[in-house]
Amino acid sequence: MRAIAVRGAAAALPLLMMMSVLVADPVQATDPLSPVRLSVPPLGFVLPVELDGVSADQVHASLVFQRIAGQVVDGNAQEVGGIPVHRPLTLEGAGEELSVNAFPLGPGVPSLPNGVYSERLQLVVMPDPGVIGHEITARATLYFRATNGTLQRLTLKQYSALVEPLVPGRNKLQQSTLEHTGAVASNGETRPVGGIDQRIEDGAPFNVPGQDESPND
């Protein structure tokens, strides 16, 4: 759809050029900025913090490991392999030079086993009657790989490729694609059925006649 829209815009270019003398350049419509912002630098573990209308002493900062040595951390886990999952952090600096140091090693974490990690930095400002109606949350996620004591930052793309690799598959047109493999979990329960889904496409037209299979294929 996007490509079609671009092609359409190109075809209409002369008309758009004529109109541009009448209409101001389009301004992108974007999402509002949060009053509490974390920036992720390409390297290192020190993240700049910006605050608007919030003072540094109102901010509660923490580091929460999401994945430790390749394994996703359970939601209620306090530690994994002796590594604390949650750790309070403090804002450093003052004024417009605030930052938070999210270096993974710290109190109780002298070293990390080899593997892939993700850690979430979370800044929370609690409600303040008459000033802040609800909690303000800001987050950033850092990815890295630990190898024999060396920590190497990863991008989202690198991290995702490592922990959720794509596998070959085929789409309904029998074209080769890349897919993710879903997980199966159990908690010992099976819920009652909530309803029947609506079919919006019949697969029959996508199947080529004459490819008969054995009855038990």
Binding site: M1, R2, A5, L22, V23, V27, Q28, A29, T30, D31, P32, L33, P35, D52, G53, Q66, V72, V73, G75, N76, S118, G133, H134, E135, I136, T137, T141, Y143, L156, S160, L166, G169, R170, N171, T177, E179, H180, T181, G182, V184, A185, S186, N187, T190, P192, V193, G194, G195, I196, D197, R199, G203, P205, F206, N207, Q211, E213, S214, P215, D217
Partner: protein, 422 residues
């Protein structure tokens, strides 16, 4: 409680299949994804339409945590075959109609995809695509080059030989994701947030498909059929819904641009920064769309918020009434007050209460009443303060059931009455 209607539906579909000369199969599954979105109502919160972090699961051999059903998601059902002999057969696509355990029914004997096989060996593929459950266009996740993402497959977990007349249950739960911090983890959350918006506004949106570019360097509405979600904002349920609010307004204007000048205090805007009225109104509208996609304005106690701002708080944000015309969050509150049922007393420095209660889809449709053009009260008004809340009211005043109530709720209750009339 829901067992009897379900059994009746199974019976009806079975009879319908039988009358067509083919036996049907019924296959049931339960699909969830890991969810850690915030600024989104949770189960039990007042006014919640469909909760984020729907339920906490303690799994065996999978990461525990909060998971949510991907309602409105596209699902393909396939027949597994020994790939050395023949490729798998595509049976069809379904839209997940609700939460909990779901079922699909389809004919088998005689269908082209049966290919002579006695009974299918079934599995699911989750598509990176959602829509409102009643209908309307889909939102499709694409990378920034415009390529559609691949599927999530449970081929390895297929169930064998689904017999006619028996319950073919997929054991356990199918997890689309277990890690919210991966590309896939963000994608499914952003898509589900988009679905919340589609569920409310599906009847007004046009086209077959709106593309969601992910993961991007910022959340933005690019044109009337394409928006992007910031890599760091997939866990913000209101971010995709906000951008779709811009999409909706663009579609109702029949164009790819909006009058939206947010340059008064440099680039960008926040809920409480001082901005031109076009920015306040356009961004406030998108903020309201996001709020109403997640919270039901008809419910007493429903109190949407984002970044700490309570949109149900009846006290204007700025102490000097006229200063609120420059505040985006105040415009969010104005649209919310037009829509919500609970009346709200006057809050200083405003001078009127909020008593109006209009319909959500009706309020959105009113943008279509802006004429094309760059003059006052037209959709491309050539003025940094143009296309503002006053224009919205003036173009539609006669359409409200109680015009004075609407005027007071939108404008004077929120200190927006001094917006530029030109």
């Amino acid at each position: 409680m829901k067992t009897w209607p379900f059994l009746l539906a199974i019976l009806a579909s079975t009879l319908a299949g039988a009358s067509a000369g083919a036996d049907t199969r019924t296959y049931c599954y339960e699909l969830v994804f890991k969810d850690d979105r915030f600024d989104c109502p949770l189960t039990g919160d007042a006014g919640v339409r469909r909760a984020c972090q729907e339920d906490y699961y303690n799994w065996v051999n999978s990461p525990d945590g909060d998971y949510t059903h991907p309602v409105g998601g596209y699902l393909e059902i396939w027949d597994w075959d020994d790939s050395a002999l023949s490729p798998d057969d595509y049976i069809g696509t379904w839209v997940i109609g609700g939460t909990g355990r779901r079922c699909v029914t389809f004919e088998w004997e005689g269908a082209a995809y049966a290919n002579g096989e006695s009974n299918p060996d079934l599995y699911v593929k989750w598509k990176s695509k959602v829509r409102g459950t009643p209908g309307g266009p889909a939102v499709q996740a694409v990378d920034l080059a415009g390529n559609e993402y691949g599927d999530v497959t449970w081929r390895a977990a297929h169930i064998s030989d689904c017999l006619s007349g028996s319950n073919c249950d997929q054991p356990g739960y199918l997890l689309v994701t277990t890690d919210t911090t991966t590309e896939r983890g963000g994608r499914v959350m952003a898509l589900d947030s988009s679905q919340h918006m589609l569920q409310v506004y599906w009847s007004l949106l046009d086209g077959d498909q709106i593309d969601m570019g992910w993961p991007a360097a910022g959340s933005a509405s690019i044109d009337r059929h394409y928006f992007e979600v910031d890599q760091t904002r997939a866990d913000q349920a209101q971010s995709p819904a906000h951008e779709l609010g811009h999409t909706l307004q663009k579609q109702l204007f029949g164009q790819d641009n909006l009058t939206n000048d947010c340059s008064l205090n440099g680039a960008g805007h926040s809920l409480t920064s001082t901005e031109f009225e076009s920015c306040v109104t356009t961004e406030g509208w998108a903020g309201y769309v996001a709020a109403v996609s997640l919270w039901n304005p008809q419910t007493t106690g429903s109190a949407p918020s984002r970044f700490g701002v309570d949109f149900e708080d009846g006290t204007p944000i700025e102490a000097v009434c006229a200063d609120n015309t420059a505040i985006e969050a105040q415009a969010v509150k104005g649209f919310w007050d037009l829509d919500d049922d609970p009346a709200e007393p006057v809050g200083a420095p405003a001078v009127n209460p909020d008593t109006n209660d209009s319909d959500t889809v009706f309020l959105a449709g009113l943008w279509a009443n802006f004429a094309n053009g760059t003059s006052n009260r037209e959709n491309d008004e050539n003025d940094v303060n143009g296309v503002n809340l006053k224009d919205y009211y003036q173009n539609n005043s006669a359409l409200f059931a109680f015009p004075l109530d609407a005027k007071q709720s939108l404008l004077s209750h929120n200190c927006m009455g001094t917006m530029d009339p030109n």
